[in-house]
Subunit: 335 residues, 3 copies
């Protein structure tokens, strides 16, 4: 069934699960149609504010280009090169560095726009609080308009939509197809948003998902069991392993991403987890995906990225098409 | 009488007084109409450059969203996170840090746009020069196109328009209604632009204005007498006091703002001037207004900001509606 | 012959010579027509990404305003205040500061846009590599869509188009008219992009070009001979000298620009090369041009910049009109 403009009007998209699998199907069909033939300028007269508490390239470009093409107006705020100093604690006496509280920032921006899109980042070193996306939820509570998540510590639904569209383009029928999410080495400790969101996309697609990560880097068990249930409800499955090489056997997609260690016993980063030609040779002609930016010869070898197996630019381009579909359904009008 | 598109074409808006009270009435009526039902895309084909010599959130967002919604194109320049190094002295040998003179920056940007909007900031430690807005006037002299002030050391007409619209929404009939502008504590020494501009808005609205500030923080007498005359011409009044509590008795609006001391005898900042529930209790159910950003529990207590009395998000939202009205009248065309 | 929308679709513009002199004529005629009467919104539905690896004022403003006026959507990325850390070396193990390789940045941005416009800057201290514009060419190789150069170490075609339009406006018939490009003092060592590009513009216009520079600051001989051949093919000429004063005799345009020394024997910068009233007095009522930003009383004296001879704002304004013409021909559609 085809989505009309504004079908999701008034709703927030804070995590991939805020849309049902059936709504994902409809969004992905709309994105594919828009990629083929464009979409009508359904957002004329609509105002969007994108707020980035951390730098952004693909997300900002995709949101601004998509909103412009739909006839609407988008403004992006990217204060500073690092995290913006915004007070989030209730009851704080604000005589320090932070000149504004998230309550007022959200309320003021929401009062000028039909929707607010936010890239939030952790303000506390507490990993459990991060998984709750507390700052994002504070924006959603105080904005007065619906909020779209442009990446929080634990969720990146706009990336997940592009992941799913790309899985469909690469695999055709996705149900039951074996795909691998593998941890990869990196120089920094990165959040869980992208790996968890890719797993949501692959689960919605009903893939036979394998997750490979070294001991000490396991994804949170409660999240994995929810994702497994989702995959199974869509005809797929989800299994985890610490054996990267075996996990690659016969898969049709390799999605690489680094994330921070999740257990105290995690040792030094193992550079042998870099995705290379030998690993790809074990697959069934798999496509290589990564959300970008990617560090060459750390996360993945040149030989993979420069081969036809790499579909990273295709995935990046799909950020535009899925963002446009979401904005059409979220802020479109029938007028 | 209703304003046609481009009614103020060719004019600059450097200070609130550059429009007559009758023109304010017309702009506010247009803003209220636009807030209800939108405005036609009267700025199609028009080009606006916003230049921010200091960071901006609400002002940039409101100008960009409003211009986009009116069908025009806006570009904002926000060089650096702090003041931009622009030479303003005549005759300078420019072999230091400043790579460009305000004469060329204004002329070049003006040559590409139908209008230039400028947030300028002091370049000299001379308070008297600040009150003259010398940098802003240099832009206006050299731009070759009309200039709108997006905040200078002594004037913020776009904020004043939103203040006035909000006063009307809160008070209904504004003439003779008691409103309080109170100085408030802050960690920084802030300029006079917002308090002076709010007073202009309240004077145009014919309010019975009270200004409360500690000894040493009095607003410039020459400005106050001009504002008093304006208020009286519109059926209002203006009185000053150093007794904040008494000044709050029975008022219907409390507008809080900090500004720098204006007299050498000013002592330490008095934290007891923070607006709190006790002060609000003396009012006649007053609305609390602030231009934002606001430091909680320094300028104003949580108990006030989190109560229904706080209308700060409404005021911020009105920045969009008054900016749209101004742009419609300033850069609109009848085509 | 008039250019239709999209006449140059699918082509890159990396250097002024990527368009033939006849194509320059057509672009300049289109720019002049657009300046008089505007151009149709031929870029509706088109997406442009501007990537600035170094700060920009006039170039960004002109590209964004022009694309908006043509009905398209432009996004500008200006990461950081200085050069963006982007890996350009093939085979690098990217465990250092650079988080992304130019291959992926170009591919990802290209996948979201119909065209990519890039300001690239040197990544190596090797002057020979700079003259080859290696980073720009890497973008062009990996973008997957056509690329427009917004200034590279050796070429600035968008500035050159504005230079040529201004020469035509100032001179009327340009063929055989004497014009001077003079080196000027500066506090920094600047690239060759602007002087070489102005020479291309003047050569296309068939001017009788004189290039004055101190010994040690001579422009590369191979470039000069190619530019001389181009000038001669259009009815002009090109001669070089180290005698600035004599070179000014009777010219109708003085174009001033500083550039870095090109020979080891270059001594200290000679401040007497500043363009002043005495130099202008030797000309035949010449117009003074500079690409801006310009350091007053270092590059050129106040007495020149503040006289009617100065046409720097007119030249800056022409950046808009020539950018609009290029975008119309590059990304326009007939739909």
């Amino acid at each position: 069934v085809s989505l009309r403009p504004g079908a999701f009007r008034g709703r927030s998209l804070l995590a991939p699960g805020d849309c049902t699998p059936e709504e994902w199907d409809a969004l992905l069909a709309l994105a594919a149609r828009g990629k083929r033939e464009g979409l009508p300028a359904a957002c004329t007269g609509q105002r969007l504010v994108n707020l980035f508490a951390a730098p952004s390239l693909r997300t900002r470009v995709s949101m601004e280009l998509a909103m412009g093409e739909l006839g609407g107006t988008a403004v992006s705020l990217t204060p500073g090169a690092d995290a913006w100093t915004l007070e989030t604690r209730d009851g704080a006496v604000m005589d320090g560095a932070a000149p504004e509280h998230v309550r007022e920032a959200a309320g003021a921006l929401g009062a000028m726009a039909h929707g607010l899109a936010v890239r939030s980042f952790p303000v506390t070193p507490d990993p459990a609080a991060e998984l709750e996306d507390v700052v994002l939820h504070a924006y959603a509570r105080h904005a007065g308009v619906p909020v779209t998540n442009l990446e929080s510590p634990s969720a990146h639904p706009m990336q997940a939509l592009a992941d799913a569209l790309t899985l469909r383009e690469v695999l055709g029928t996705t149900v039951g197809q074996p795909v691998l999410l593998t941890w990869a080495p990196h120089v920094k400790r990165l959040p869980l948003a992208v790996p968890l969101s890719f797993l949501h996309a692959a689960a919605v697609c009903g893939c036979a998902i394998r997750v490979a990560a070294p001991a000490g880097w396991a994804l949170p068990a409660s999240r994995l069991s929810a994702l497994r249930a989702l995959a199974e409800s869509r005809g797929g499955s989800l299994a985890t392993t610490t054996d990267q090489a075996a996990a690659a056997d016969g898969v049709r997609v390799v999605y690489a991403k680094s994330w921070a260690p999740t257990a105290p016993e995690a040792g030094d980063m193992d550079r042998r987890w870099m995705v290379d030609a030998a690993l790809m040779a074990r697959t069934r002609g798999a496509a290589f995906l990564h959300c970008l930016p990617v560090r060459r010869n750390v996360v993945v070898a040149d030989a993979v990225l420069d081969s036809p197996a790499a579909r990273v630019a295709q995935l990046a381009g799909n950020r535009l098409h899925t963002a446009r579909a979401w904005l059409y359904a979220w802020l479109g009008t029938d007028r």
